[in-house]
């Protein structure tokens, strides 16, 4: 029974981490769906979100709900500018040029932000916006617990997901996004403004990553300008695992990646926590490259 409780606790921890990955993976998957671009700088938007939230809380003492909105607005703006400055001029260039540019944007954001006049290259503590509380449950002797931080992460991730679904499947703009991801030329012939649709996609993806950054800061209160690299790569793998371009795939992929990582570090060794994710990637690429929910191999 004790063992079962321990496993349950680790699964809940894994879901907490996975929910953050899911938020980042959504941006990867949406941008890929619309531009066939793997935006390697997306993890750095997540980092930006954590830093913006850090400043808003520690310098201005802003209430948490406002921190979320303000951070998402700032990261959405960064996503917008990133696309306009770095990717839009390459819209008709070979895809490899875009990919290389994405790596460049990523490095730029990391090293620019590590300047002491901007952020800092050091690890800094993320202020706790509220006291952590643990809720214990023991239905039938089976003990498990979760914290208010976890409850917050699950609630926010879930609501973000519902809103995203409504946006993509129930609004006119969402319909435009889907049309552009199927076939850009034909979408333009429907009277859809491609540039605005691409911008919107980047902004939504970046807002979700920013939200992930705030949640990550609250849950794992140490932040650094390079904090976006590993979660970025893992979220990208999550998106591939779920089937890149598919919204619910990114979420399921994120949760699987998060749980695998935590389970491996709890039961095997934390040395392997990153390694296991790449093993997952290798297995996906070997067994089903289109991912769990991918229907057909993508025509690239």
């Amino acid at each position: 029974m004790e063992q079962a409780s321990y496993i349950a606790a680790q699964v809940i921890n894994g879901l907490q981490l996975g929910a953050v990955y899911a938020l980042i993976a959504l941006g990867y998957t949406m941008v890929y769906g619309i531009l066939r671009l793997i935006n390697f700088a997306h993890g750095d938007i997540f980092m930006l979100g954590a830093f913006v939230a850090y400043f808003l809380i520690s310098r201005f003492g802003m209430p948490l709900y406002l921190v979320f909105f303000a951070t998402m607005a700032v990261t959405a703006l960064s996503g917008y500018l990133m696309e306009k400055i770095a990717y839009k001029p390459l819209r008709n260039a070979p895809r490899i040029s875009l990919l290389i540019t994405a790596v460049g944007v990523s490095l730029f954001l990391e090293y620019f932000c590590s300047l002491r006049s901007i952020f800092t290259p050091d690890y800094i503590g993320f202020p706790r916006p509220f006291e952590m509380e643990t809720y214990n449950f023991s239905p039938g002797g089976f003990e498990f617990s979760f914290t208010n931080v976890q409850a917050l992460i699950f609630a926010i991730t879930f609501s973000a997901l519902v809103l995203l679904y409504l946006l993509v499947y129930r609004t006119k703009q969402g319909r435009a996004m889907r049309a552009v991801s199927y076939d850009q030329e034909t979408a333009a012939l429907m009277g859809i403004n491609i540039d605005n649709t691409v911008s919107l996609t980047f902004m939504v993806g970046a807002a979700l990553a920013g939200m992930g950054g705030v949640l990550y800061g609250i849950a794992y209160p140490q932040i650094n300008v390079f904090m976006g690299i590993m979660p970025g790569i893992k979220s990208f793998i999550a998106a591939v695992l779920g089937g890149i371009g598919i919204i619910h795939g990114a979420v399921i992929g994120g949760l699987i990646v998060g749980v695998s990582e935590v389970i491996v570090s709890a039961f095997l060794s934390s040395t392997y926590r990153d390694g296991v994710i790449f093993v997952i990637l290798l297995i996906v690429l070997l067994v089903k490259p289109s991912g769990i929910f991918g229907k057909r191999s993508d025509k690239v």
């Binding site: 889907r178 049309a179 009277g191 403004n193 491609i194």
Partner: protein, 246 residues
């Protein structure tokens, strides 16, 4: 069809000295033509003559190197595709390019994307459904499950949802059986005569194109080598030999 478009009928589309190239390869060379209100102009030519490129430059999908395109008196040469569509020019692309994973109804609704007025949108949808009864039975079906002819009808219906003044049709008979081709062409002439929509019809099937248009241009290696009333061109010995396979 007889050509009854005198010089008094206003010009909807005027192209002047249009040159287009992909890299160093010239595709269109000094193309000039006019389409009058309510007229069907067909562009006849072999594969690779530049027919599709001509339509793509009108809709802003391809940027011309020089020359001008005027629609309804406005220069549209450098405008964005969605702006041109909103002005009333739309295209049924080669290979139909329907959205296969969306339903027939969703495809049609996307065609009316630029229509801000919900009532107009609904009326248009009703109108199209009544003129394409075959689509009506399949509204909830995924568009990818339709037959080739039905997909062509859907692509045309979708284009009509934007309420165009000028409709560009790129190879509407591609991959269709002779019977379905005839059905599609009679739909095209019906839309033209009932709604007065001007059209440019690009076809490899020269016989059908000449039969169903008022005027025709012959495009060879990016140049217009012959143009005039379709009834006349049909009997031009060069055309008979090169395109009508007699």
């Amino acid at each position: 069809m007889t050509n009854h478009f005198s010089n008094e009928v206003p010009v909807v589309l005027a192209i002047d000295g249009l040159c287009v190239s992909y890299g160093i390869i010239g595709v269109l060379d000094n193309v000039s033509l006019e389409v009058r209100r309510g007229e069907i102009l067909s562009i006849v030519g072999a594969n690779g003559a530049g027919k599709s490129t001509l339509l793509k430059s009108i809709t802003g999908l391809v940027r011309p190197a020089s020359g001008s395109i005027d629609f309804d008196g406005t220069r549209i040469t450098t405008l964005r595709t969605d702006v041109i569509v909103r002005m009333g020019v739309t295209m049924v692309p080669e290979g139909r390019r329907i959205f296969p994973d969306l339903t027939v109804k969703e495809n049609l609704e996307l065609g009316g994307f630029s229509q801000p007025d919900k009532k107009v949108h609904r009326d248009l949808l009703d109108l199209i459904v009544t003129s394409f009864p075959r689509l009506k039975e399949r509204m909830k079906q995924h568009a990818g499950t339709l037959s080739g002819g039905e997909q062509q009808m859907l692509a045309m219906g979708r284009a009509l949802m934007s309420h165009p003044k000028l409709l560009l049709l790129d190879e509407p008979s591609m991959g269709l059986s002779p019977i379905i081709t005839r059905e599609i062409f009679s739909l095209i002439t019906r839309i033209n005569s009932e709604k007065g929509i001007s059209m440019i019809l690009v076809e490899q099937n020269a016989h059908m194109a000449l039969e169903h248009s008022h005027r025709s241009c012959v495009l060879e290696n990016g140049r217009i080598t012959l143009q005039g009333p379709s009834g006349k061109i049909k009997h031009d010995p060069r055309i008979v030999e090169a395109y009508l396979g007699v």
